[in-house]
Amino acid sequence: MIIPAGSSVLEACRRRGVSRRQFLEYCAAITATLALPASYAQVVANALSQKRKPVLVWLEFQDCAGNTESMLRSAHPTVEDIVLETLSWEYHETIMAGYGHAAEKALERVVREEKGKYLCVVEGAIPTADGGVYCTIAGRTALDIANEVCTNAAATIAVGACAWDGGLVKSNPNPTGALGVQEAVPGLSIVVNLGGCPHNAANTAAVLVHYLTFGEMPALDPYNRPLFAYGQIIHDQCERRAHYDAGRYVQEWGDEGHRKGWCLYKMGCKGPQATYNCPTVRWNNGTSWPVKGGHGCIACASPRFWDTKSPFYDRLPQPAGFGVDVTAGEIGWTLVGAVAAATAAHGIGHAVKSHMHPPPEAEPVETHEKVTEDK
């Protein structure tokens, strides 16, 4: 069988024995992560059935490659689906086939031939001190490369704390003058920041699918973070919340409360000060998240968290109403502060800018052959 040029995700799925129903179920899962109404699943499905794949380049600067590794763990869609079927992933040092001059040329080609059309993902901070000598690739500084590649992209996606706001690398005393992408390359028209240490690939995959589906990024908060992922306080979504409200706390590591899954507030948990969808999306295909694992949250998706949330084992200042039944909003939003409150005012959790998207009309995915339904 010869596959015609420019295959779509649906076609690719079919060749591998994935039924149309399974494909639509996957689209529904992504739709749910994005907090879109269920009727959007069809729109997602239609977008992923397109022919020509958008090009993506992934730049790594002052990074630990933890965000790359996190992307490799993506389960919905899987990383193999993303890199082989959904996007043409043409530059990514950690996993690309080419090296040296061939790698440089691959990046040059994208910037030249896909100008204004490609997606640029950035991982790691960008050093600006001493002429940028603290990170060079092929003899060029990270800043030089970012200036060229981000500026010519359709959109830039900063994954992880370092690319977002400098993260750990920018922490005091910031020995290399490190900055996040937005600061280092000011004036980029579209930037999406996916904070976290590392980013959660479930959210990044959802942002990519949203972009492929609607041709634009999901609704963002004042930090350019997608509301669907960063719009809710961890404490409010935490499965240990009932213990907090009832005054049941872990007092010592390994004590009865720790074994019973009580609240980690007294052990320094920053959940009441942090926004992220960590408790609901979880990590590694929904397996767990740090609080479920038994350790407090370090607020890794919060602005400048390394400098502002450490010491991580000191308990937060005692909020009003501590230890008695209070509403989530009273405690959480007070602690998170004004920026998060502004987020709340936007209406939490809806990825779509409603004025831009009329309710979708169900357009069936084009099918060229009879597809076997699974039982």
Partner: protein, 571 residues
Amino acid sequence: MARVVIDPVTRIEGHLRIEVEVDGNQVKDAWSSGTMFRGIELILRGRDPREAWIWAQRICGVCTTVHALASVRAVEDAVGVEIPDNARLVRSIIAGTQNVQDHIIHFYHLHALDWVDVTLALKADPAKTSQIAQSISEWPKSSTVYFKGVQDRIKALVASGQLSLFSSGDWGHPAYHLPPEVNLLAVAHYIEALELQREFIRIQAVLGGKNPHPQTYLVGGMASAIDPNETESAINPVSITLMNQLLTNAQTFVRQVLIPDVLAVAGFYRDWFEYGEGLGNFMAYGDYPSGSIHDPAGFTFPRGIILNRDLSTVHPLDTKNVTEYVTHSWYEYSEGDQVGKHPAQGETKPKYSGPKPPYEFLNVDEKYSWLKSPRYDDKPMEVGPLARTLVAYASGNEQIKKRVDAVLSQLNLPPTALFSTMGRIAARALEAEFMADKLTGWIQELSNNMGHGNLRIHDNSKWDPDSWPKSCQGFGLEEAPRGSLGHWVEIENKKIVNYQAVVPSTWNAGPRDVHGNRGAYEAALKGTPIADPSRPLEVLRTVHSFDPCLACAVHVVDASGRRYSRTVPAI
């Protein structure tokens, strides 16, 4: 002589640049340079030592968790606390899982494309691939239909004109020797391994909430609560069952896919048992304690040194003999750049003196890397799976010796063939198999402890910083997937005043020292054949065989030039 530059070296962690001098069809000389610097140790100063591991873990996200473990061990050593048995087991399970995971990803996703021509897989006869697969393994995904499906998927990718990650590969390079059918087999397993790594690492999510960067270490133990009767405990019968299931799948994959694939590749590239030897000096701190971390006799991987490829003697190891040079690194020492300094007395002032970017070549006669040059007893050392395997083999470790001898006899090679590029690959695969078996035992021990009512996961006696001495110093050693790792910490008034990591890829990828002795990469590249200087694929083969990790390798100690009088005791 032509100077050939590879920058970026891809399919590694971090930013590595290799410059080689090619004469005729051979590498005459080589220089290895790390081109990124963050300064994490500087950032650690002044912080709560109990959270040092959270910061240090971010040294690397590929070998995630390894710096967390070395860090927490260093602080525990400084404040004087021993961890409970359950914490030891949880740490071994996390570290062992990382080892197997890294080795699988390294072979398939970072290294395989140096040996496998993806485009040649299109010319394969899937029926023949199926025959080959079934002749070397029991692995069930081996039908003609299955391989036809994989081939169709790659055909579609090529036909689309958008080759994604494969768009810039060196396809058609004369150094590729695998028949089309074996290329197809390898491509199928490349894709399967992506799925395997995603699933297997869920063990770390069970124990540590997430991966990368699991969040569960504590000075004095672990935060993964254990209780057979509590559904909200991280460790309970349900999670033990899940971990066992994930492990069994990985074990099967390693035995039935990774090992046969490595042997197949080794069979077609036998000449690479002759290239890439390098230093002939190997070092392992040893790791995976059966009791206290202070009792190396109980380690799963033994400690020791092998010199000048002599497997008849394993020399004892004393960390006070570790020093670092900056003669060819972009730092300066206050006594001048000719001296070597012990990590506990370390000093680092970053001082870039390389060419102004953008540049074409480094000035390799002067300073040329952000990596320092660690030395043991003034000798360069190779660290990693091959070093561990050789130290264990020469120490007479039966389990490891048996595996190594079986493979050597299958390939009809002497033990000295291990001193090579292909030897590193074989040692890594055998280690993955060995570790997967060890993991079964550790999960069983943890389950037994739980069943017998031993639920202790943390020693609280030193949690309160008021219980610490006013000033103290410690270090933590570990065998990370890529080799011997050490963290050194000094604490004063409950805060970190000095911190340093000496990591595996600094040993392997470091530049020349004051005597002009090459680092392990530089030495190993000498004599590498080069078919086409414009496409130096062969250089990549040897460099990749070390599994480089550059984010780890570049570090800085203390920009203030602080001195320490205390000598770290011999261990």
